[in-house]
């Protein structure tokens, strides 16, 4: 009688195994169905390649291995369609209401402006989503370009291409009123502050490499975790890029940006760029588009439309 109790364990796992196989098969079918979703993309070849006249001589159609120069604006994953990725979900003020296709929010607007310069408009632009981390790992990409506040760093550039910057940001701290971080004027005042930040971000590196607090910072999967920890009184301050920090303060009662760090802090400026596949032929084309938008002042205009004034937050000296 007791023996049967013992035997029930392997018996159950065997049954589970038999059930798992059809489950996997169904999963594969669902994935396949999702994958064939975007075959509605029209081939708007006529609009592609309008910019960067120099590339008329470049070898068209070579998808990889030809970086530098003006790039090839036709070298997208799917001919005639530009696939742009952002976070899932995408956060304000970068993308408003998690709907990048509307062009509302700073990064949504920048992406559409860059796409337009590259010769892709309307239906020729397709949005997709990736996590922050997966897009900067080596390997095949599901997007032509990806933007979700990726700081340009040499480490990332070893694995992926990064475009010229479309925005330069300071790191900033959000704290509740009366927070231990509130009265700091230099980084030295922040040693005993309990920090939080998102994993894999330059904000976390900044805490560990520049502030070097005595207690280890808490680390979260995304900004939502850092916000919840602030509200739960588990951390004194969370570090974000400044526009995100300003937005976070609007969502948490009694919080404010208690300090921002100069862009040069820690020896690196925090500049956001598009992430592209390593050696992508598109990189040169994206760079050219960003240069054009910067020179024409359009990038500045987008910034003023979507990002709040960042000059108000107190500046904290980095020694």
């Amino acid at each position: 009688m007791r023996r049967s109790a013992n035997l029930s364990i392997p018996a159950r796992s065997a049954r589970f195994g038999r059930r798992l196989v059809p489950a996997l098969a169904v999963g594969a079918l669902v994935l396949a169905a999702c994958g064939s979703d975007d075959d509605s993309a029209d081939t708007a070849d006529t609009t592609a390649g309008s910019i960067a006249p120099a590339d008329s001589t470049a070898a068209a159609g070579s998808t990889a291995g030809s970086t530098g120069g003006a790039g090839d604006c036709n070298a997208t994953l799917e001919a005639g369609t530009l696939t742009i990725a952002t976070g899932d979900p995408a956060f304000s003020p970068w993308v408003i209401d998690d709907a990048p296709e509307t062009g509302k929010g700073f990064e949504a607007a920048v992406a559409l402006a860059v796409a337009k310069e590259m010769g892709y408009e309307g239906d020729a632009v397709v949005w997709t989503r990736t996590t922050f981390d997966e897009a900067i790992q080596p390997g095949p990409k599901t997007f032509d370009m990806n933007l979700q506040q990726y700081s340009i760093t040499p480490e990332r550039q070893e694995n992926v291409d990064m475009s010229l910057p479309y925005y330069t940001s300071n790191q900033a701290m959000v704290g509740l009123d009366g927070s231990a971080a509130a009265d700091a004027t230099t980084v030295a005042d922040l040693k005993d502050v309990k920090f939080g930040a998102q994993a894999g971000t330059t904000s976390l590196d900044f805490i560990n490499d520049v502030i070097k607090p005595t207690t280890e910072p808490f680390v979260y999967d995304d900004n939502t975790g850092a916000k919840a920890a602030l509200e739960a009184n588990q951390i004194d301050a969370a570090v974000f890029d400044l526009p995100t920090a300003l937005f976070v303060t609007t969502e948490i009662d009694g919080s404010s940006v208690v300090g921002q760090f100069p862009a040069s802090a820690g020896g690196t400026t925090d500049q956001f760029g598009f992430v592209l596949d390593k050696g992508s032929a598109l990189t040169g084309c994206v760079d050219a588009a960003i240069t054009t938008l910067t020179d024409s002042g359009e990038l500045d205009a987008i910034q003023q439309e979507w990002l709040s004034d960042t000059t108000g937050a107190p500046v904290i000296a980095v020694d």
Partner: protein
């Protein structure tokens, strides 16, 4: 004992030797095939770089060991708590007095609900939710504390069911015999039923313990940097998955002895109950 073996004993020894030879040969063939064939795959070199990078391994390993200490601490705190809570829940579910029905109903609802909620949600809910109410001081808002509470609540439901199964598995005649000797219902439970029940449930309990060792890592979603989070940070830093390989080696160093022990206990239990192994 060393008298001349019977024909049956000799036959069984020959059978065992034959089984051992076949097992060794088949293991050698499979392992050799893996060692020879896997590196021949066209993508092996890339996979090797991404998962088995020696430099990344040595760089991240000390940090991972340090972070693993937090996992061990959470495990050591939560295990005795789980045993206590689950025993209480199991006893509550086993009460037979009609007056105590509300207790029994609570235990049933508790196990149903807690087993139905994903551990990760419970950790978010309790880890951020309880300190978020601002009824506890700053020191007691620590996510490690509330993450542990969430693990204890979830695992207690599972372990309570194991214990209840053990209690139900003790034949009713044991209780009847105890009562007929003049024991009270309490005495029968404590001195006759529970000791037998616990012997039966040690192996499944070890299973839960091994499972808990890995689920401890889920506490990292509310902030604490334990081994899996540290591995994730290092993975991003090096754009290489070797830190996860290093982390799993550290986990294995703990879980393998536990699973071996569980198997050993299971085998002993089989011998004790006289069940013969049928291959």
């Amino acid at each position: 004992m060393t008298a001349a073996p019977t024909r049956r004993a000799a036959y069984e020894r020959a059978q065992r030797r034959r089984a051992a030879i076949i097992a060794t040969a088949s293991t050698i063939i499979v392992v050799t095939a893996l060692i020879v064939l896997v590196p021949r795959a066209s993508g092996w070199e890339k996979v090797r770089q991404a998962f088995f990078d020696g430099d990344v391994f040595t760089d991240s390993f000390p940090r991972l060991i340090e972070a693993f200490w937090l996992d061990v601490k959470i495990l050591l705190w939560s295990t005795p708590l789980i045993l206590i809570v689950s025993l209480l829940v199991a006893l509550a579910r086993s009460v037979r007095s009609p007056a105590l029905f509300p207790v029994k109903a609570f235990a049933v609802v508790y196990t149903d609900v807690m087993r139905g909620i994903p551990v990760i949600l419970l950790i978010f809910l309790i880890g951020f939710g309880v300190p978020g109410l601002r009824i506890v001081s700053r020191t007691w808002s620590d996510p490690v504390i509330w993450g542990t509470v969430a693990l204890v609540l979830s695992y207690s439901a599972y372990v309570a069911e194991i214990i209840r199964g053990g209690i139900d598995g003790v034949h009713e005649s044991q209780r009847a015999a105890a009562r007929s000797l003049g024991m009270t219902s309490h005495q029968a439970m404590n001195t006759v039923v529970l000791p037998q029940a616990f012997r039966n449930i040690v192996p499944p309990m070890m299973n839960s313990f091994v499972s808990l060792q890995k689920d401890v890592a889920l506490v990292s979603v509310i902030g604490p940097v334990e081994i899996l989070r540290q591995a994730g940070i290092d993975k991003s830093k090096f754009a290489n998955f070797t830190p996860y390989v290093a982390a799993s080696l550290i986990f294995l160093a703990i879980t393998i002895p536990c699973t071996r022990l569980a198997d050993h206990l299971l085998a002993r239990e089989r011998r004790r109950t006289g069940a013969t192994t049928i291959s």
